[in-house]
């Protein structure tokens, strides 16, 4: 197995799938006192072994949490009907446990199969992408006081993938907005705001230009707002939001929007707090399914060298714990992580220090244990 990483946590090897180019992960199953099971997806290219260390760091940090990890690969395989799909064992495992944590996935350009992320989204109907962006004390950016959440509709909109060449030189892409999806995302946004003690929800749209499509989205948001009178609802044009976001991000709280605007704005907000290396993200699906992930790339150049920054994945895991109701553990791990970054003694390279990933993780583990 090429992706062998010498790490102390490994106890038994899971059989590697040699027939596919993508290597398998090796890890040791954790904690057996499980009331809740978690499934973790890992998809490894040759270069990606570094992510292993991330995973392990995660395991070691969540030492005391009552979680059992199960690992599955999500390399696309061709189903009997000829369509690309996720391996069936991954799907059943997920259906059973409902919660997942995902590392970065990369679809090679000439892979022949659609994007992994897209497949996951379609399979589990992950309709809401939630990205909380809060400035991290200790990681200096020009924007110090960001505290907002972007909720983005994940299934339709501009990313419906319906494009065609009408005549040579003219391409038409279709943006789809449906009543059902808009209503669903608006309801999720208000529920989220209510459960997390947020004050206002802002709908971001471009209904002055795309009068019918964004008009429908806006109408649905307004209708749902009627049922949540305790939360302030405002609507703002996308360009106004961008303009105001870079001047004063404190005026925003929860933002809800269709797919494309959500993609752009969530990355903009991630940039405000320091980039994708420190931003967590969660995808909520129908039927109670939720997959939490780190949205940064696979960083093949530093894979395997113990240089990766696990903050994004760690914070996503914290989000996951909160989603499951394990607030105590979530708080401990989050505090430990932020304290480590604030102290600035042990930081990975992209945060400004020169420690290794394992050292950073050990520091966080130490703090978690000190807190008990």
């Amino acid at each position: 197995v090429d992706s062998q990483v010498t790490c102390p946590w490994r106890s038994n090897l899971v059989r590697p799938r040699k027939h596919i180019k993508n290597c398998y992960a090796t890890y040791s199953p954790f904690q057996a006192t499980s009331s809740v099971e978690i499934i973790m997806f890992l998809f490894n290219l040759q270069e990606l072994a570094g992510e292993m260390v991330l995973m392990f760091s995660l395991f070691s940090v969540s030492t005391k949490a009552p979680i059992q990890w199960e690992e599955r690969s999500v390399t696309a395989i061709k189903g009997p009907s000829g369509r690309w799909m996720i391996p069936p064992e991954a799907k059943e495992s997920m259906d059973k446990s409902k919660i997942g944590l995902k590392g970065p996935l990369k679809t090679p350009i000439a892979a022949g199969h659609p994007s992994m992320n897209l497949l996951l989204r379609k399979t589990f109907d992950l309709y809401a992408n939630v990205r909380p962006c809060a400035s991290i004390e200790g990681y200096k950016t020009p924007y110090d006081d960001v505290n907002l959440v972007t909720i983005r509709e994940n299934t339709e909109g501009e990313y419906s993938g319906i494009e065609h060449v009408i005549v040579n030189g003219v391409v038409q892409s279709i943006k789809l907005i449906t009543e059902k999806a808009s209503k669903r995302i608006a309801e999720y946004a208000f529920e989220y705001a209510r459960n997390n003690q947020r004050i206002s929800v802002t709908a971001v749209h471009k209904a002055n230009i795309m009068r019918m499509s964004d008009g429908l989205f806006l109408r649905k948001c307004r209708e749902v707002a009627e049922n949540y009178k305790d939360i302030k609802f405002t609507e703002m044009y996308l360009d106004t939001v961008c303009l105001n976001m870079v001047q004063d991000p404190t005026q925003f709280d929860v933002l809800v929007m269709p797919n494309l605007y959500g993609d752009i704005l969530s990355d903009l907000c991630a940039g405000l707090i320091g980039g994708l290396g420190v931003t967590p993200s969660g995808n909520i699906g129908a039927n109670g399914v939720a997959i939490f992930e780190s949205v940064h790339g696979t960083a093949p150049d530093i894979a395997g060298k113990d240089l990766a920054n696990p903050t994004a994945l760690l914070l996503s895991a914290v989000m996951m714990l909160r989603h499951m109701g394990l607030h105590g553990y979530a708080k401990k791990i989050e505090m430990a992580c932020f304290d480590t970054i604030r102290d600035k003694k042990v930081l990975t390279k992209d945060l400004g220090g020169n420690s290794k990933c394992s050292e950073f993780t050990n520091e966080i583990c130490r703090r978690v244990q000190d807190m008990d």
Binding site: I174, K175, I177, S213, T240, C242, V246, L260, D267, G271
Partner: protein, 387 residues
């Protein structure tokens, strides 16, 4: 009697003359002769003034236009404005006014305008007046100059970007329909011809202004055919300009990089919607919608306006709008008309006022009104350092 009637007819003939040049009415008595001929130019009063269409638009547009007029009057700029009031929200929407606007711009060639607001309610017409204007006049390129103002510091200083945006197609096609109740489709159109045209414009602009890099912004990893075509056209045009570096970046990464390190960009070229986003983002980086000028070009016409187009309706009547963007845009218009002397005079005055920092409007952190600012600019007009 005959003289009076002849003078009247000559004056009315003068008034009906349209074109780039307008002669001031002659003040000497008209010679009594049988043939009607246009009076000779008086050497004292008549000047060659440029005629420019002015569209105040909605929101604070009229206030900003007043500021432009005052500054021009004080600077003695030889420009005469032909005002056309058109609005989609104030019950002034009519096809005749729109046609009147088109004819005016066609005749004059140059226009300065505020933002014509779009009504939010869907009244049956999918294309707004602005879109119609852009399509009819084929104003395909929108150029926004994002430069940091000396004396006003933001989180990112010394920025100097140019954002070029394709303005007639893309997501703003206004082609929408409800296929089934509750399911709406909106079409985004990308054509090779227009992508090629905007790319060529961008590279020509970069060459003319001595810029070194052009970056195409797209989302071709998701919209493979649409933005893929745009990217391909840009790459093809880039081959013709070996001296200018060509790069491309995905829109979400671009937004992130703009807030983390905007200095890596020089000239950005992109389709319609992304242009709207990036224009506003970049305007926010240097101080907001009140300080960034922009213009729209077609093959024959040029329309000057602010960079980030917002009517700012909540400031109407409160005298708090910042006229910097409109004044800088008006200065650019003067440069376009080859009135470099006046152009420099106006832009230097505005920049000096901002640099001194004593008179600032609310959006830049000060307490002065629009009128105070305009007065300060007028006072600073005389002191130009270099001509």
């Amino acid at each position: 009697m005959a003289v009076a009637s002849l003078r009247r007819s000559v004056l009315s003939l003068n008034r009906t003359l349209r074109g780039s040049w307008c002669q001031a009415p002659d003040l000497r008595p008209v010679c009594v002769s049988a043939c009607q001929r246009t009076p000779e130019r008086s050497s004292v009063h008549a000047r060659n003034t440029f005629k420019v269409t002015m569209v105040p638009g909605d929101g604070v547009g009229p206030e900003l236009m007043r500021a432009v007029r005052e500054v021009f009057k004080a600077a003695d700029v030889p420009v005469e404005f032909e005002e056309i009031h058109i609005s989609e929200v104030h019950n002034m929407a009519s096809e005749e006014k729109l046609d009147q606007l088109f004819t005016s711009v066609r005749n004059n060639g140059v226009a300065i305008k505020g933002k014509i607001n779009n009504p939010m309610a869907y009244k049956g017409d999918l294309a707004s007046y602005e879109m119609k204007l852009r399509r009819k006049l084929d104003l395909f390129a929108n150029v926004v100059h994002v430069t940091s103002l000396p004396g006003y510091s933001t989180r990112h200083n010394s920025l100097d970007l140019v954002i070029i945006r394709e303005q007639t197609e893309g997501e703003y096609s206004s082609l929408e329909h409800e296929s089934v109740k509750g399911v709406i489709e909106s079409l985004k159109i990308i054509t090779r011809e227009k992508s090629h045209r905007i790319a060529k414009f961008a590279f020509d602009y970069a060459t003319k202004k001595g810029r070194s890099k052009v970056t195409a912004v797209h989302k071709a990893n998701i919209m493979k055919l649409g933005d893929g075509l745009f990217l391909q056209s840009c790459a093809e045009v880039a081959k013709l300009y070996p001296k200018i570096k060509f790069e491309n970046i995905i829109i979400d990464n671009c937004c992130m990089q703009l807030v983390r390190n905007p200095y890596q960009f020089d000239v950005l070229v992109m389709p319609n919607l992304y242009g709207n986003i990036i224009d506003n983002l970049a305007a926010g980086l240097v101080g907001g919608a009140g300080v960034v000028p922009g213009e729209s070009y077609s093959d024959e016409y040029a329309v000057f306006e602010t960079g980030a187009r917002h009517p700012f309706a909540q400031a109407v009547g409160r005298n708090i709008a910042n006229p910097t963007a409109m004044l800088l845009s008006a200065a650019n218009m003067l440069r376009h008309l080859n009135l470099d002397y006046h152009s420099n005079m106006v832009s230097e005055a505005v920049k000096r006022v901002i640099k001194q920092g004593k008179v600032r409007t609310k959006d830049l952190g000060g307490y002065c009104t629009t009128e105070d600012f305009v007065r300060a600019v007028v006072n600073n007009l005389g002191h130009q350092s270099v001509y």
